[in-house]
Every structure is written in C-alpha cells, then in structure tokens.
Chain length 336, copies 2
DNA sequence: TCATATTGATGGACAATGTCAACTACTTTT
DNA sequence: AAAAGTAGTTGACATTGTCCATCAATATGA
C-alpha cells in the first residue's frame, strides 16, 4: 500500500506516532462522549475546569491555556455568569480585563463534573492489572515530560512507610533492575527475598523502618534501616533503590537523609552499609551523606566478579541534618 | 485545593491519568489545527484516511471505526462523490450498502493530505533528541497496547517460565492481594518471600518449575511445582494466583493443568497442595483437575483464624490430560 | 408465506459549535 | 497627544454535528 511508509526507522517512527494519535484521539473521544451527559458541552467543561483550578484568572489566560477563540470563550463566560456560576471583578490595574471566580454554585457544579470524570478514570484504571496500571501512568508521565518539558512540576515524590505488597515489590524491582543493568543472576533476587522476609518477621517498629517513595501513586524507590545483628548501637542501611524513571529528583539523597535522621533520633551511634563497587551513582549519595568507605573485598557473587564495600557513618560527632563530613563545606560542626 | 484528591495511591494515579488526557487533548488540537489549512475539515480528513486505508469499505464500517453519526458521514461521502473523489458500487450481497473506493483523484488528494500530516509528525520527531524519539515511540506503542489490547484475539494469555524480577512480583501480588481480599497480615508476605527465595536457591529445572501468565505483556498470574521436601516421588503445587483483572479466562485451570502435565511427564506419582478453606474459587479448580481434599486443620495464621487444607492428586492411575477423576465424564481410562 | 422486525443509508430540521471582522474601552508607546 | 496595541464583546455567519423520520432491502419467525 502506498500510504504506508517503507524503509528506515524515522519513517516507521512517524507511522507509529501517527497511529498513536489516531488511536488516542478516538480514545479521548469516547471518554468525552460519556461526560457529555453531564449537561455541559466539552468546551464548557474545559472552561469550568480552568476556572476551578486557577486563582482568579482573566479571560485571556484561559483562552490561551485552552487555545480557544476569545469570542467563543466570551460567550461561554457570559452564559456562566447569567446562570450565576461565575462572578467577574473588574481589575483595578487594567480596567479592560476582569478577574473570574466561580461562585459557590459554580464550584459545586464543577465538583459534580469532576467527580464524574474521576469516576470514569478510576474505572479505566481498575480494569487494568496492577502492572498495567503502573505502566500506564509511567508511560503517560514520560510522554508528558517529552512533549511538555517545561511543566515538570508534577513530579513530586512522597515518602511513606511500607504496606502489604511493598516487600514483594522491593524484591521485584531489585531483581529486575540489577539483572537488567548489571547482569546479576537470580541468587541476588533470592537474597533480597530473604532480607525482606527477615525484615517482616523480626520487624521492630521502634528501631527499624522501611521507606517507600511514590511519584504519581507509583512506587519509584525504597530504603531500609535495620538493627545490626550483633551490635545494638549500630544500624544497617539496606536496599537503596531509585527507579530509572525517577532519577534526577534527588530522591536517593532524600531517602538516605530520612534514614540518617531516623537513626539519630532513635539513638544509634553508627550506621553501616554494604554495597558493590560498581554501583557508582549510589556512592556519591553515601558520600554526600557523610558515609566513609572503610573496607573493600573482592568476591564472586550473583554470577559476577564483584568488589563489595562497607561504608560507615558515625553519628556521635554532633553533626546535624544537612551538615557534611566530607569537608566540602567550610562550616565547622557546632553544638547540638 | 479541593479538586486535588488526597489519600491512597489510586487517587494520584487517577490525577496523573486525567492530567495526561488534558495535555494530550491540547497537543492533538494543535496538530489538527495545522492540518486544517489543507482545505479539508477534520472529519473529512479522517474519512478520507479511512477510505484510503481500507479495502472497499462500506459506510457503516467507517461510521463505526470513527464513532461517527451515519447521517453526517453520509453527507460527507455525498460531497466526496460530487467532487469525484469517490466511487460507489452497490453491493450485490446487500443492495442497501455500497462499496466505497477512492477515485484516482481521491487518492491523489489523500496523498497530499497524508504527506502534510507525515511532514508534521516528522518535524515533531526531528525536534527531539534521538533517545527522546525512541522513547516517545516506545511509550506510545506501550500505551496503545495497554489501551487497545489485541482486539481480534480478545484477552489471550501466554504461559512462560520465570525471569529475573518475577519472584519479587509473585511476593508482591500474593502479599497485596491476600491482604486486600482476606485481610492477611505481613507474615503471609514474609512466608511467600521465603518460599520463593528457597525456590530460587534450590531450583532443580528438571523436576521443578514456575509458570508466569501474561496478558498483553503484563503478569497476571503464576503457579509453582516443586519437589516435596521428603518424598521424592511427590510434588508440591504452590502459590497459585490469578489477578482479578484476568479472571474469567480459565487461567487458573490452565495453570494447574500445566503443572499436572509437567509432574506426570517428569515421573512424579503424586501431587499435594496446601491451601486455606476460605479460598473457594481455587478449590473448584483443584477439584476439576482431580485433586481430592484429604485433610483439614484449624489454625491461627496470618493474623486470621483459618482452616488449612491438604489436597492430593494421584498420578498413577494412567489418566491422561483432559480426563477426569471426579466421575463426571462417562469415559473409562484407556491405555497409556 | 406473509407479517414483523432490523439494518444501511439518507434527507430535513435544527441546535451546537466555532470563526471572522468590526467595535468599545481602555493602556502603552513614542 | 497621537498612534499602536490589548482585553473583551457583539453581530453575522459558516461549519459541524445531532435527532428524527423515512425508504428500501434484508432477516426472522410463526
């Protein structure tokens, strides 16, 4: 067929790109159709959304945001005002424009519409298997980032304690990621499984903790702080991981910092951690947090020749959160 | 802000999903706007596209594909015919419908439009760095696959052996699902973690196996067959799970059948399994596969009062795949 | 076999959606 | 202070899409 491109990869990328646009146009069309039962047209619904989510916008602002004809918008706004969903206040700075704000009634109408759309989205997400859900959201935010690189602010992470299923997820990601990036074999995944099993069965909430990092409701990283098996005043930091998709958020440092603060708060005198020499990105994080490399040892593990390392951080020095031991800041430790 | 949901993670997934839809709606809008200089309306362009890429479609076919009002389509087609872009041939099978085909002129018009859209796509892709390009296309086709799962096939599953990361996934889903549906506590997840750790470290490929079920590339179920710890001629079936999203595909039976066939093939005489009385759906599957309940025992596990069960299947009877021991078929076992 | 749906396609009427250009009332620039 | 520009509005109008009724052909079934 002559329409279908042939040849090298840009062409087939173009074809894939266009096909996706067709499919997604259709998909959005179906979503929108369902929302049309709400009594508002699509254009109205979008305007309502912008009105509700912005702080006293002007008409211009909304027209630009939605790529909408100002005349058309003007009429929609007039309609909203007439049915008292909207109040306009003429700007004092520029008497030509007016600040727009929803009335109580307008807000409640929006809430209804919003709930409808949310319910719809929820339905779609629930119909997918959990990995499908995670992937969907992941791909979407990746795409979004590629298409609108400026509006990045959406990527804020949240740290939370572990929940049922999280330990399995930890094993899953450690196993998959280290196999993919460093060729570790399945004995590594088995080791992680044992570590988390022990963590769960011997968990001491007062002196141990796991943090899970989420972005957009998806797990993107984790870290553990556990008691040292023999030394009561020493804690072990374990299983630090940050998903490739979440790199660049300083999430690794945030996780380590969280651990160190907790360890200090519950009275540990020292934190040790065990890692591999090839995990260079992690070393920078440990270093910045004040850990020092104290031991190296070559060994053959996880199907690879590796050099394992032990790092330590003394907590007795009176250093506070944010201060460094690596000498890169000029500040001297002060009192506690 | 009152629109932004708070609370558990499905909500923030929903928010991400909706945000993406807004962003992409806008993006497609911009793309479409540019194409409007071609002299054809959006609807016309889409119809033209369908006409060009299908083999002598009927109007119905196109209306369905585009989710379009048949009357509206009818008018567009009439316009096309009038400007001789289109030829209609009344069907001999059904004189109500007509086969549609572009004329030479129609094809050339389409080519122009197509070239325009292709140029546009090319422009967008070229503006991205090469990795961005690859990623974009990758994310798009992944998304597509998730949203429009293989239409003609329906939901077909694939069974495959385990890969790195799969054991973690097993723990994750067992932990999350049993916590959610039956309120099991974290000791259950710990138990599963130990089981899979042992499976990995003592794995005997000749006599043991794990099957992972996939639908659309997403894990949706699993099962394990392992050696009995003491009886060499006995196998243990473990960790059968089917995701809620994949129920109704007879996946559970397929997984058990796979296990039983494998056990028979490598010479086991008996399969036992350990389960809980509350897992009723699974029992039907075991029963259908010929297992019999041989023992029940009340105990307190996983934070619940439970009755655990042992089921057995004898493999010595010469039964073959597909035959039953429950007497529901009239067939008598034949030779093997 | 004959009455009764059902289906594919179309036309009329009409509502909704969107566009263009002109205009008002202001603000900024020079 | 004139000229140019901007936010918002209005009228006229074209486009786009929807609903309903209808027609002819076909399928269904007592």
């Amino acid at each position: 067929m002559s329409i279908v491109d042939s040849g090298p990869s840009l062409n087939s990328s173009v074809a894939a790109f266009r096909r996706f646009n067709r499919v997604y146009t259709r998909f959005i069309g179906v979503l929108d159709e369902e929302l049309l039962n709400s009594g508002y047209s699509l254009a109205e619904a979008r305007v309502l959304y912008e009105l509700a989510t912005r702080h006293t916008p002007t008409a211009k602002e909304i027209a630009v945001a939605l790529g909408m004809d100002p005349a058309y918008l003007s009429r929609i706004l007039a309609r909203f005002e007439k049915s008292s969903l909207l109040k306009r206040t003429t700007s004092k700075k520029d008497a030509r424009s007016a600040y727009l704000a929803l009335t109580q009634k307008g807000k409640s109408r929006f809430e209804k519409l919003n709930a409808l759309s949310e319910e719809q989205a929820r339905g779609i997400l629930r119909a997918l298997p959990p990995t499908g859900q995670t992937n969907l959201i992941g791909y979407m935010s990746d795409l979004e980032r590629l298409l609108a690189p400026n509006a990045q602010e959406g990527a804020r992470y949240v740290l939370r304690p572990h929940r049922p299923g999280d330990m399995g997820w930890v094993v899953h990601r450690e196993g998959a990621l280290y196999a993919q990036e460093y060729g570790f074999d399945e004995t590594f995944e088995a080791l992680v499984a044992r570590i988390v099993a022990d963590f769960l069965t011997e968990f001491d909430p007062k002196r141990e903790r796991c943090w899970i990092a989420e972005v957009n409701g998806q797990n993107v990283g984790h870290i553990f702080l556990v008691k040292h098996p023999t030394e009561p005043s020493t804690a072990k930091l374990r299983l630090l991981l940050v998903e490739p998709s979440a790199r660049g958020l300083r999430l690794g440092s945030a996780l380590v910092e969280e651990c160190v603060n907790f360890a200090r708060a519950v009275g540990y005198k020292k934190i040790t951690l065990w890692t591999q020499s090839i995990l260079v990105a992690a070393h920078r994080i440990y270093q910045k947090a004040g850990f020092r490399l104290v031991e190296e040892q070559a060994n053959c593990k996880f199907g690879k020749d590796l050099v394992s390392q032990t790092w330590e951080l003394e907590l007795t020095s009176g250093l506070r959160k944010g201060e460094r031991q690596d000498g890169r800041t000029g500040r001297t430790p002060t009192n506690v």
